[in-house]
Amino acid sequence: MARIVHNLFLTAALALFAAGSATAQITDGVVKVGVLTDMTGAYSDLAGAGSVIAAQMAAEDFGGKVLGKPIVIISADHQNKADVASSIARKWFDEQQVDAIADLVSSSTALAVMPVAAEKKRITLLSGPGSTPIAGDKCTPYNVHYTYNTYAMAAGTGRAVVQKGGKTWFFITADYVFGKSLEADTSKVVEVAGGKVLGDVKAPFPTTDFSSYLLQAQASGAKIVGLANAGADTINAIKQANEFGLTKKQSLAGLLVFLSDVHSLGLPTAKGMYLTTAFYWDRDEASRKWSKRFFERHKKMPTMVQAGVYSELMHYFEAIKAAGTDDPDKVMAKMRELPVNDFFARNGRIGADGLHRHDMYLAQVKSPEESKYPWDYYKIIKTIPAAEAFEAPDPACPLVKK
């Protein structure tokens, strides 16, 4: 009797195992995406809750399921701290079966999480961070750098400003990896375009009072003062530059300016400024349609980072569907293989280095008179084609074929 029961169990187990492996495209029966972002700090307006909403929208728009298994979105606050980010990532991978981590705004958190993900063969989909080493010497096979990088910002704005006669530059730089990378990239572009860098000052991050640095920028005599910082730092710097009369003789170039920054500065202060962006909500019918849906839920128009989170997740789900499995190696291969063409990105391709190269836009902030309705902030001056917007694959990344 015992033997029969034993055999019965064995058969059942085998049957279950066979059935399991036949539909085992999705391990653990769920596709779980963790949005790891800055919920409360300096970048919470340009990413934060908006990124989480964008991720939820992506899951819903995909039908809530991929290959018949539910999509689950979870989120956490990394507080812009690398150690917090990597410990949450470990916990997510080890205990909560998270398949992919999205956003990771602020480069230091992205650089901390990427190796953890690579070690555990999970995918990172970066929308918020901008450092170029992410797809350079720090690249990993399981990473997608989706929305922008500092080179694209530098190339777009830097080149345009030099061409308009802004030949001499002084930088006010946020004193951490992102600011330095932004300054280095811009300097390169400026010099290639025939401009000259006269000097820089590294301001601690975060800084509220920029008056000392602005004074040094004035003393440098440079025509262009490049702001190699982001978020609240950029806002305060621009505001105080106006106050100190810097904008009378010199011009500001915001090297990383988000829609949320312009919104909070107000057009009277921000007008006329050039900036490069991966996405503008009012660019065409498709972007408007999506953005208005986003606005209904978030009460703010999306920044490029938030729109990027939506788009990268749609691409990720598409890749799982096309690959017929959530196996990270196969999904990554599909993500690289499939082009991206949606309301967010045109002519997008993800390279071996993980960098998503797509068209970027040079924009100018409208004056209060030009702005006709709420959130009508940018004029798109020109489209920068993907090949021009992003640098060629960096040989420092071991994944790039030499």
Binding site: T40, G41, A42, Y43, S44, D45, L46, G48, D175, V201, K202, A203, P204, P206, T207, T208, D209, S211, S212, Y213, L215, Q216, Q218, A219, G231, A232, I235, N236, K239, Q240, E243, F244, G245, S260, D261, H263, S264, L265, G266, T269, K300
Partner: protein, 288 residues
């Protein structure tokens, strides 16, 4: 070179007078109530936000805000003192520190939820727009106004507390509240008003700051660290100490920004460590 240096020193003076104004409220509250008011930064932020909300939704301009905001926020402070802080009197100061710290987190959280992190712009009032070219630098009129007002308010507070009868009551209340009450002075009321005054000072500084900095929920926590350092260096609770140290540290910070900018956010704490090593009670503090 000299031009740039004198500009940096002037900016140091401007920031310093600002630190002095903020640390003054903190010093008053600590000196007279023995409460380490960790909510000071949040109350400063509250001042800026009340001014901004007043302008945005009620059309109350800068000049009225300068008067009304400290009253409103100060009143909130008094209510908080009556309902919560008072219950901790006589306990270890650590308790009131934790309570006020909690209040700060709650306030910041509420405003962050309601207004986001990037904050809002508050325009410089029309009468104070523009500036003067001093030769070595362009001095915005508003910044000059900040220095003037801060120093006046600082001097006024010092005068009231150190030189008048009311101030004498206050100081007596700190030394021996029971005895002072026996003389017929309403000590609990006096404490409430003192806390309210300290909070009103923070709110006043908030209104002063609104046109310069972005009005954001975290503006207080950005500056409060330095302000605490100022109070510690000046000698906990010493009014003169906090004023002089505030201005002095502004200058030191300004110089550092000029000589080696990346160190400018640490220099204040280096000074603090040195002062505490050499004079544990602070520059102007009395050993208790």
């Amino acid at each position: 070179m000299l031009q740039v240096l004198s500009g940096q020193l002037l900016i140091g003076l401007i920031n310093g007078s600002f630190y002095a104004l903020l640390s003054l409220g903190l010093a008053v509250i600590f000196g007279l109530l023995n409460v380490v008011n960790f909510a000071h930064g949040a109350q400063y932020m509250l001042g800026a936000f009340v001014a901004w909300i007043g302008l945005q939704y009620c059309g109350i301009g800068y000049w009225w805000a300068l008067v009304l905001t400290p009253l409103v926020v100060g009143l909130c402070g008094i209510v908080f003192e009556r309902l919560c802080l008072r219950r901790l009197r006589g306990l270890d100061p650590l308790y009131s520190l934790l309570l006020t710290f909690g209040l700060a987190l709650v306030l910041e959280g509420i405003f962050q939820n309601a207004f986001g992190i990037s904050g809002n712009s508050y325009p410089v009032p029309a009468a104070l727009q523009g500036g003067t070219d001093l030769g070595f630098m362009y001095l915005p009129r508003y910044r000059a106004w900040v220095v003037m007002v801060s120093l006046t308010v600082c001097f006024g507070s010092w005068f009231v507390i150190e030189k008048t009868r009311l101030g004498a009551y206050l100081r007596a209340g700190t030394e021996n509240p029971a005895l002072l009450q026996a003389f017929g002075v309403n000590v609990p009321l006096m404490f409430s008003l003192t806390y309210g005054y300290g909070v009103a000072l923070a709110a006043f500084a908030g209104v002063m700051a609104a046109p310069i900095y972005q009005v954001t929920p975290l503006m207080g926590s950005n500056v409060i660290m330095v302000v605490f350092a100022v109070v510690v260096i000046g000698g906990m609770g010493s009014i003169v100490g906090s004023i002089v140290t505030g201005v002095g540290l502004g200058l030191v910070e300004g110089l550092t920004k000029f000589l080696y900018a990346p160190a400018s956010d640490v220099v204040v704490f280096v000074v603090m460590a040195l002062v505490l090593l050499l004079r544990p009670a602070g520059l102007f503090g009395r050993q208790r």
